[in-house]
Every structure is written in C-alpha cells, then in structure tokens.
Amino acid sequence: MREITFREAVVEALDIAMQRDPKIFLLGEDIGYYGGLFQATQGLMQKYGEDRVMDSPISESAILGAGIGSAIVGMHPVVEIMNIDFLPVCMDQLVNQAAKMRYMFGGRMKIPLVIRTTCGAGRGGAAHHAQATHAAFMHFPGIKIVAAATPHDVKGLLFTAIEDENPVLFIENKMMYNMKGEVPEGYYTVPFGKAAVHREGKDITIVATMRMVHKALAVAKEMEAEGVGIEVIDPRTLCPLDKETIIRSFKKTGKMIIVDEGNRVGNFGSEVASIIAEEAVEYIQAPILKVTAPHVPVPYSPVLEKEVYIPNEDGIKRAVHKVLEYA
C-alpha cells in the first residue's frame, strides 16, 4: 500500500469529506491562505474557496462559538484550535455549552461539531504551546475525544468524527505530522471506542496514546530479544474508551504500564489504573505504573524538554524492569 504522512492523511480526509458533504466547512487561525500552522489544511482554501475554508480572527471563543452555532442550525463545521493549550480560552463554550446542549434541550438539537487541535512537546513550544492536556477533557461528559497514533487511523477516525452528531475533540500530536504510514485511498472509517492492539505479548500490557504508542512499540521490540512479551494497546479514542480490550489484555498479563505525554497528576493513565483497580483487581500481579511527563510546565530548554519532560524509551524501559521484578 502507498505510504503518506500523518499530515497528508489529515488533508486527504478533510478533502474527501468536503467533496462528499457540502455542509462541511473549516474555520480556524491561519488555516486558509497559509494552510495551517502545521500545513494540515494545505491547499483546501484554494480548492474549496473562502466560504468553506475560513481564516478566523485570533479568538478561540469566536471560532468555537461560531462552530457550535452553525452546527446547531445544520452545518457540519470542522474548526481548528491551533494548540490544545488555547482551549481553556473557550472552555465554557466547549464543556458547558457544546458538551451539554443536546442533553439540556431534551435532544431537540444536534451538535455535529469537530474541533481539531494539536498537542505535544518537542518543538520548543514551552509552557503555552506544547502541552498534552487531553486527559482534562475526559472529565466532561458529552465530548468525544480522539487521539490518533497512525496516519491510517487519523484518516479513518476523522471521517468517523465528521459523521458523528455530537461534539468531537480531535487531537493530533504535532510531532507526528511527518510520520509516514500506509493509508488506503478513498473513504473508510475507524470506529470510536475500539482500541488497536499493535503488538501482542503475554507478559506486560502497555497502554499508550498518540506519539507514545511508537515509543512503547520500540521498547516492546527491544524487550522481545530479552524474552519479554509486551502487548501494546492504543485506545485511539479516549472517550469512548475501549475498556474491554484493555481489561482483557490485563487479565492475560497481570501487569500494566500506561505511557502518556500528559502531566502526571490526573493523567489518562490514572483513569486506566482506576479501571483496572475497580474491574480487575484480582488480576493485579505488580504495581500499575504510569510513564508520563512530570507534573511541571513544559520547559522551554530544549535539553529539559527532550531529556526530562517528554516520556522516552529509557523511562518506559525503567518501568518495564520495575514491573518485571514481580514477574
């Protein structure tokens, strides 16, 4: 199969979706003439015109507000918030309005809104442009959260997000845009709430999100040489979360490591650990470990950012060895 980048997969999905459905339009900062900060909307304004690909003012509240309003009246907006760090600017619109409106009005309206945003450190973005705060949004019922880890999945998940009648927070790790992978031509969907088991193993289960999936896979491959079988699970959507696949794997291995770039406290992994404790406690053979960013702002120093902040293979290996003490 042909290989394209993560970025190209996003552009291709938006392109195909816009061809299929005239109600879809894009709105965001610098997404039109410039093609998006990460070029993930490259060429779409040229193709679909300024009515369907709109550059917005620098106001997240305006972007999300317009997105919610147009969704209510029947459009299918795909809005872009440049960095997930900026979502708190329009937090009320997201978590109190978009997430709850359909419920509070007794189902009399639908909000088929996709909010694309980026997360992740690695480009010197520092404390305001490099966070991975996806777990914070899991707390609010009414928002679906997509966290794709491969070019194949990002394209298929984006189609599913656009088809969904409810608000979807679609998160892309900015360090993955140049990652290449096999991506089918044309239209296909990847379902929400269905995890991908990228690698099977009998000894340890690693649940990893987005970019961390690849670091976990690298460690799993390395550990295989030492005779340790690591199962790597990518949930693909954090909400809905595929608990069944995670628990099934855990019941097999009895050992769990969660790798996630978010800050340590209230991390996505905290939720996974809690699910295990609640639903599979009698299978726990070893401490459930999280490999995460430390609980500090993203440092600007490139050395700190790379060596200390972003979870890496060394950290995952340390966790693996610690868990293996109980094997």
Binding site: G254, V281, E282, Y283, I284, Q285, A286, P287, E325, Y326, A327
Partner: protein, 461 residues
C-alpha cells in the same frame, strides 16, 4: 547495625509462644544459624535460630514469659556496636508487663528483622490465587521485591504440594540414600525413566544444598511426664492441656454438633485383612491395620461428599483443596492428630506406611507442625477399649469427625436367620452450621457400604 530477633510465626494458628530457655547469654558471640532460644507454642517446642552473626547484646524477654508472635525478644549487634538507646529504655519485660499492650513490638520498619515476616506483601492476583486454593500466604516465601509473594510463588507452592502428594518414583538405593541424608525426594529432580529419582540425582541434590541456608526449625513435642494424681491436688495446665482445653471449648461452643451412628458388619473386611495380612506385609513391608482401611474408605467417601471436608470461615464455607485424614493418637497426657496427606490418592500400602510412621513419631514426640495441622477430617478410634460407641468433639477448624467403637461378635439377622457377625458401631459428628442431617446420614451410609463391601472398595483404588 542492630538486628532485632523476633518470635517467629510458628504455625498457621499460633498466636503466642513462651520462651522456655535462652541457649545463648547476653554478650555472647552468635553465628547466623545458631540456635538462640527454645520456644513453646501450642503443643510444640521449637528452637529459633539467629538471623545474623554478631553479639547477642540484649535479651528483652526472659525465660518462662509468654509473648505474641513477632514480638522483639532480643537484639543482636556488631562486635563494637553499642546497644541503640531505644532498647535500653525498653528494659526487660516481666510477666506483668506482657499482659499489657505496651509490648516491645517492632517499632520501625527501618530495622531489618528476622525469621518471620512482619506483614504479608502480595499483589491482589497472588492473594486471590492463594485464597482460591485455600493456601495461607504465611506458608509461602515471597521472591518479589521486599519479599513480596508473587503469583509464581503461589503456583510453585501449589506444584510442590502436588508433587509431595503424588507418588514419587525412585530406585530403592536412591530412596535409602535420600532418607539417610534427610533429603526430601520431592525436591530432587529425577533423571531416570519416567522421571525416576536415581542415586546420582540424590547425590547431586545433596551437593546442591547450600550450607548457608537456614535449616528448618527443629520441632519436638514434649512427652508429658507421668504423674500420679492425688485428691485435692492442684495441677497447673501444661501447654498441651491448655491448647486442648481452648480448642475443645472453642469447637463445642461455636460449632453446633449433631451426631449419627450406624452399625457396620465388619465380617468381610476382617476376613479380607486376615487373608492378605502376610502377603501384604511381605510386599509392602508393613502390617496393615483396620485403621488403614478406615482411612482409605473415609477419604474416598469425603471425595463423594466434599462438604464434610470443609471449614467455616466467616460467612464462607471453605472446602479444603485436599483430603488429609487425621488419626487421633492418645499420648500419656493429651492427644494429637497427625494426618495422612491426600489419603484419597494413596494406595493402602502407602497409607499404612504413613500411618505407622506418624503414630510412631507422635509417640516419640517427633511430629512436625505441618503434619499436625494439615488434617481436614479426623478419625477417632476407641476400638481397643470396651466402648460400644461414643461422641466426639470436632477438631477445629474441621467440620467432621468419625468415631469408631470396638468390634464385637453380635447376633445379626441375615436372610431371616439369626447369625453371629463381627459388628462395629461408627459415629459421625458434624458441624450443623454447614452440614445438614441428610448429608451426614448419606456420608455415613456410604462409608458403611464401603466397609461392608471391601473388595469393591479397595480393589478399585
């Protein structure tokens, strides 16, 4: 660094122990593995070994004082090390102080301890497995960080138990050598046909035993002294009597007992025994007794009625994972009940050998705690006395006990005619909390049938 010596956990049900004798004096040099003191707990006396080498700096608990398990009883230091001050203030415990909660317990986890674990560390999966299999985690050694008991530790414990129960193939030479060297055949990997243990395997296993490894605690049951009782005499209870008193009262007052009796025609079984006696002795090297048939028949019946092979634990009925039939052995003053392990799976020869060995060692006061605690059902026989039948109190935590009266010739009606048959009355006591009359009756009926049809019963197994 100062190392605390504690009173180890001496058995599954042991809560306290009395220090009988200090074998080392304060200030004396001790080597790791030296016997430090003798402790009496429940019915046994055990020597406790020193966990480290050093100077026995201070004895905190004097002789003849009873303290709970895991109490710090002494402190060992390096040669030039002074006794840390906190032990000075602890002083020496006196019997009066012992009754109070202010015991010199382990206070800080910073000081490494001893022979017995202070707390059980095990992840939930290991706990679950142990619970499901009815294993007490105290009996398992953890190989994980800080002595954590892992799932694999429970599994290997289980497989060791299985091995111990299964018949071990070994050449006679290997068997003899293993016995002489005190090596358990179960622990030797056999290299012969079908895993048969060969002489060379035992020699290899002997060499592999590392000298530094702690030996299992030596245990001896104190043979009670003969005494002539006099009117008006006041007799302090010895520890065996205390245990018996406590257990019998506990059993009788917590488990509502119900009793069942029936008559067993022993004619065929006695005839069978008489017929095979000589040849059995020649081939198996042991004189088979009626008790051996009883043990086997009871074990087979327990297999049919597992509820009778269980115990009450809180609001759960826990069926034992094994069938270990205990045989009450009378001592001069007291009673102990060693058990034949997995009697349902053993041949009569093996049962007879086990029984003879256990009874013999019971009388010599040489049983291990395990042998006394593993029973899941008890047989109590007064057949040697002129007793027709009797009731027995359950041996806790078990839920069933069989009583056996004397065998005597009695008139019986067979095919409408009066004949003389050798008859025996058997009785069953069960815990009515968990075993109802109908189950108990069926159990006893099935046992009777087995004893009355010995060829079917014992040929099949």
């Amino acid at each position: 660094m100062a190392i605390e010596v504690v009173l180890p956990a001496l058995g599954l049900t042991v809560e306290k122990g009395k220090i009988l004798k200090w074998l080392k004096k304060e200030g004396q040099t001790v080597t790791k593995g030296d016997s430090l003191y003798e402790v009496e707990a429940d019915k046994v006396t055990t020597e406790v070994e020193s966990p480290v080498s050093g100077i026995l700096r201070k004895i905190l608990i004097p002789e003849e004082v009873e303290v709970p398990i895991l109490t710090v009883v002494a402190v060992i230091t390096d040669e030039n090390e002074k006794l840390p001050e906190k032990y000075l203030t602890m002083g020496t415990a006196t019997p009066e102080r012992i009754e109070k909660p202010a015991l010199p317990r382990i206070q800080e986890p910073s000081v490494l301890v001893t022979s017995g674990p202070t707390e059980i560390k095990a992840p939930p999966a290991a706990r679950k497995l142990a619970k499901d299999k009815g294993i007490d985690l105290l009996s398992i050694r953890g190989s994980g960080p800080g002595g954590t008991i892992l799932v694999k530790d429970v599994e290997s414990f289980l497989s060791m138990e299985r091995q111990a129960g299964a018949r071990i193939l070994a050449t006679p030479t290997a068997r003899k050598l293993a016995e002489r060297e005190g090596i358990g055949l179960a622990s030797v990997k056999g290299t012969g046909i079908s895993g048969r243990v060969m002489k060379a395997d035992v020699v290899g296993a002997k060499a592999a035993v590392r000298p530094g490894e702690p030996k299992p605690a030596r245990i001896s049951v104190k043979a009670p002294s003969v005494s002539t009782y006099q009117l008006g005499q006041v007799i302090p209870m010895n520890s065996i009597r205390k245990v018996i008193a406590k257990r019998m009262a506990q059993s009788k007052f917590t488990a509502p007992h119900i009793y069942f009796f029936n008559d067993v025609d022993m004619e065929k079984l006695l005839t069978l025994r008489e017929e095979i006696l000589t040849e059995f002795e020649e081939t198996e090297g042991i004189r088979i007794s009626i008790n051996d048939f009883l043990i086997k028949a009871v074990a087979l019946t327990l297999r049919e009625y597992p509820l009778v092979n269980s115990r009450v634990s809180g609001e759960e009925i826990r069926i034992f994972p094994e069938i270990n039939v205990g045989l009450a052995v009378a001592m001069e003053d007291g009673l102990i009940v060693p058990a034949v392990p997995r009697a349902d799976q053993l041949g009569l020869g093996e049962i007879a050998r086990y029984r003879a060995d256990l009874v013999d060692r019971a009388r010599q006061a040489k049983l291990t705690i395990e042998e006394m605690e593993r029973g899941t059902f008890t047989i109590s026989s007064l057949a040697q006395f002129d007793i027709t039948f009797f009731t027995a109190i359950l041996n806790p935590p078990q839920s069933g006990i069989l009583t056996v009266g004397k065998v005597e010739e009695r008139p019986a009606v067979r095919d409408g005619k009066m004949v003389i048959r050798r008859m025996m009355k058997e009785g069953l006591s069960v815990d009515h909390r968990i075993i109802d009359g109908a189950v108990a009756a069926q159990f006893l009926q099935s046992l009777k049938k087995k004893l009355e049809n010995p060829y079917t019963t014992f040929l099949r197994f």
